[in-house]
């Protein structure tokens, strides 16, 4: 059935690609913004692409670009990006049982492609359809995201260099985060975590070494835990 029409692509790989297409509507602008923000902060094309390939995690890339552009100390740039990507540990834990039977090298490769979208899509599909080949479906979705992310970044770098500053295109960065934040505040503790994290970050915006983001994020996590404990 899968080999019909001489196709060499596994059915479940194709299904992963097909299911991820609607998500690209959110990924494409996000990737463009990552490229635009990189040029804006003075990064070269090579650095922007290096960031997208080596880190491959949008929110942390944007935060790192912003901090590098404002000459924050290296430790703050790295610490902030690391805190943002801590959530990957949660995804890794959640998807791990599905990959447990694969060889170590396969798992190492699959881990590189782990993103919010690939994780959410795959885990939902595994629940719905137990017959899916885990790695084929995941690879179809995750590798598609990777390709679109890289192309989008390059296009963003090229386009971003030509747009006047007054348009404030980098304002799309907080808008992307806002679109991710709203669904992340799904119950009382997560909403409290978000409101506290944001408020503290605003109040701490004047802190030296651009520590506001880090302080805000940690405060938000603590408030989330406290709210949960009270319920």
């Amino acid at each position: 059935m899968t080999r019909m029409n001489g196709s060499v692509l596994h059915e479940d790989l194709v299904a992963g690609v097909r299911d991820v297409i609607p998500l690209m509507l959110g990924i494409v602008p996000f990737a463009l913004v990552a490229g635009i923000a990189a040029v804006d902060a003075g990064l070269t094309l090579a650095e922007a692409v290096g960031l997208s390939v080596i880190v491959f995690a949008g929110a942390s890339q944007l935060a790192a670009i912003d901090l590098l552009g404002s000459n924050a100390p290296l430790a703050v740039v790295i610490g902030t990006a690391a805190v943002i990507n801590l959530r990957m540990v949660m995804y890794s834990a959640s998807i791990a049982p599905h990959f447990a039977d694969y060889a170590r090298r396969t798992r190492a490769a699959l881990a590189y492609l782990l993103t919010d979208q690939a994780y959410a899509l795959s885990v939902a599909e595994y629940e719905r359809n137990d017959g899916r080949s885990r790695w084929h479906y995941y690879l179809g979705a995750a590798a598609s995201l990777w390709v679109v992310w890289q192309i989008g970044t390059v296009v963003g770098v090229v386009v971003g260099a030509g747009v006047p500053d007054a348009w404030g295109l980098t304002f799309a960065v907080p808008l992307v985060f806002l679109a991710l934040l709203v669904p992340a505040m799904k119950d009382r503790p997560t909403t409290a975590a978000g409101l506290a994290g944001g408020a503290v970050a605003v109040a701490a915006a004047g802190l030296p070494l651009n520590l506001g983001l880090l302080v805000g994020a940690v405060s938000g996590i603590v408030v989330g835990l406290l709210t949960e404990a009270r319920e």
Binding site: V55, A64, L74, A82, M88, P174
Partner: protein
């Protein structure tokens, strides 16, 4: 002699931001990359040795996304200024509130960006102009 030409070359290059590849940037990229990959690999690698993710790790991780995202967003929308009006009459805050409403209703990234940018331009170039 080479010193002089090097200096001249440097000054030309440094006048063009974005053309000088700095080691600082690459160090950041590589270290963040290693940290991020180790987060991704963590339990995918460990699974088989431990059966369940410890509750102590899982609980705080649940609050990382909302806390971090809000800490990223809010300072870009709000700047505390002397006076309530000065703080609230900010095109970024107005655009952010509009975009937040769209995000809440649609959960669509593209629609959120579009509405936010249009409202920003409307207030920047028309209303407050």
């Amino acid at each position: 002699m080479t010193g002089i030409s090097d200096l001249a070359g440097l000054s030309v290059l440094s006048a063009l931001p974005g053309l000088v590849s700095s080691p600082r940037v690459w160090v950041a990229i590589v270290v963040i990359g290693i940290a991020t990959y180790s987060f991704r690999l963590s339990f995918i690698h460990l699974f088989g040795r431990i059966d369940e993710v410890p509750e102590r790790i899982r609980r705080p991780l649940k609050y990382v996304p909302p806390a971090v995202l809000a800490a990223l967003v809010f300072p870009d929308l709000v700047t505390v200024r002397p006076g309530v009006v000065a703080t609230l009459a900010d095109e970024r805050l107005i655009a952010g509130v509009a975009a937040g409403a769209v995000a809440w209703r649609t959960e669509n990234v593209f629609a959120t960006i579009t509405v936010g940018m249009v409202v920003l331009w409307l207030f920047r170039f028309v209303v407050f102009a």
